[in-house]
């Protein structure tokens, strides 16, 4: 859970930073997307590095989801009878209790839509694969505002997921003392904010016509 989660966070950081090419214009963004596919050429075949990264990414996602399912099943078995009265959570990661599991489902559904939208272009008006820029502009165009709203909702869920996930992974792998645990929680919050805001600025800018 922790190791796959950290690797997925690294992917998100890279993906978020890559998306910011949108602000440089059509050519630069498409060149970046093309660059991802020709990485390692001519030494290696077309898209080989990309596919190695994709396989690693899929492996991390599978391990991450599988661990979550195991943990959730154990949790259900560990408390077969529920409490009649419940008090709001009051631990250090109280938001995690209410948001990790349903938030994960929102993010999962988002990724399916997102792949159909911007990778396979099934639900995207722009089918021309080399034109990543065009596809981003088209999907977040003002008249398709529900898409932007859905992206922002998914990012909201992702924010809570990362806010807890990042420090929780460090707690599992490194086991910091109290001082470093507090620092890790602050860093987790900061990284989650950077990632989510960095992603959110793209659909917001396109929908409001700042990029077109």
């Amino acid at each position: 859970m922790a190791v796959s989660g950290i690797l997925l966070v690294l992917f998100l950081v890279a993906h978020m930073a890559g998306n910011l090419h949108v602000f440089e214009g059509r050519e630069e963004m498409n060149e970046y997307a093309h660059g991802l596919r020709t990485l390692g050429e001519p030494l290696l075949p077309h898209e080989s590095i990309l596919w190695i990264l994709r396989i690693g990414l899929i492996a991390c996602a599978v391990v991450h989801i599988w661990s979550a399912v195991v943990l959730t099943r154990r949790a259900l078995q560990a408390r077969p009878v529920r409490y009649a009265s419940k008090k709001p959570a009051k631990g250090e990661s109280r938001h995690a209790v209410a948001t990790m599991r349903w938030g994960a489902i929102v993010v999962f559904l988002f990724i399916i839509w997102h792949l159909l939208d911007l990778t396979f272009r099934t639900v995207n008006p722009v089918k021309d694969v080399p034109d990543a820029y065009g596809a981003v502009i088209a999907t977040f165009s003002p008249e398709r505002w529900p898409v932007t709203v859905f992206y922002l909702l998914a990012l909201f869920a992702l924010f809570f997921h990362l806010r807890h996930g990042i420090w929780s992974a460090v707690q599992t792998i490194a086991g910091p003392d109290t001082k470093w645990r507090k620092r890790t929680q602050a860093i987790g919050l900061f990284v989650a904010l950077i990632i989510v805001l960095g992603f959110a600025i793209v659909p917001i800018s396109v929908t409001f016509g700042l990029v077109n």
Partner: protein, 248 residues
Amino acid sequence: MKLSLRIWRQPDAQAPGEMVSYEIDEVSEDASFLEMLDVLNERLISEGDDPVAFDHDCREGICGACSLVIDGQPHGPQAATTTCQLHMRKFKDGDSIDIEPYRAGAFPVIKDLVVDRSAFDRIIQAGGYISAPTGTAPDAHAVPIPKQDADAAFSAAACIGCGACVAACPNGSGMLFMGAKVTHLSLMPQGQPERATRVLGMVAAHDDAGFGGCTNTGECAAACPKEIGLDVIGKLNRDFRKAAVRAA
């Protein structure tokens, strides 16, 4: 003060249970929570009813026998306080209070509010001890221990094994209890020879008993009457990782 109680009544481990309502009058603000239940039980006995079974022993917050989930909170609303040390002045006249047993598959209900916490004993038997020659007690300062380590070990050793951490955990995990024991012993020179086998054995016994896995929500530490912190879970994770890598 006058209170409306809803208490979990279950005749034995097999029978189904339910929340039963009781009205109770003239509760003294100075009574402890358990004394309030004693008063209720005297009335139930005089009326020929079965008294409410609940665990208790020292009634001074040091043994870990008392339990109860009061209004959804293990050991009730007051931080860093066992149920036996909780006083009725924390409640208001006319309050309704829900009283339930700890809910965990690894802590089955025996009767009413009494649960079987022997799963914790099995975790201790799997490594939560040191092997030492018997005989006369060694000199207090025969083994020098740095003050910081002694203090940290002492804080962890404050765990009374009450199980509130499990009751509070949304995953029903026993990591805080286990972390407290591992931290206490692995900070001491006497704990070193068995350090690796201890953590591996205890974690295996914990998982066998049917406790859930930790997801670091921190609900355990918020409920712990002895204020054991999440740093002990960090230490447990570190010790486990080292021992597991070495064993592999």
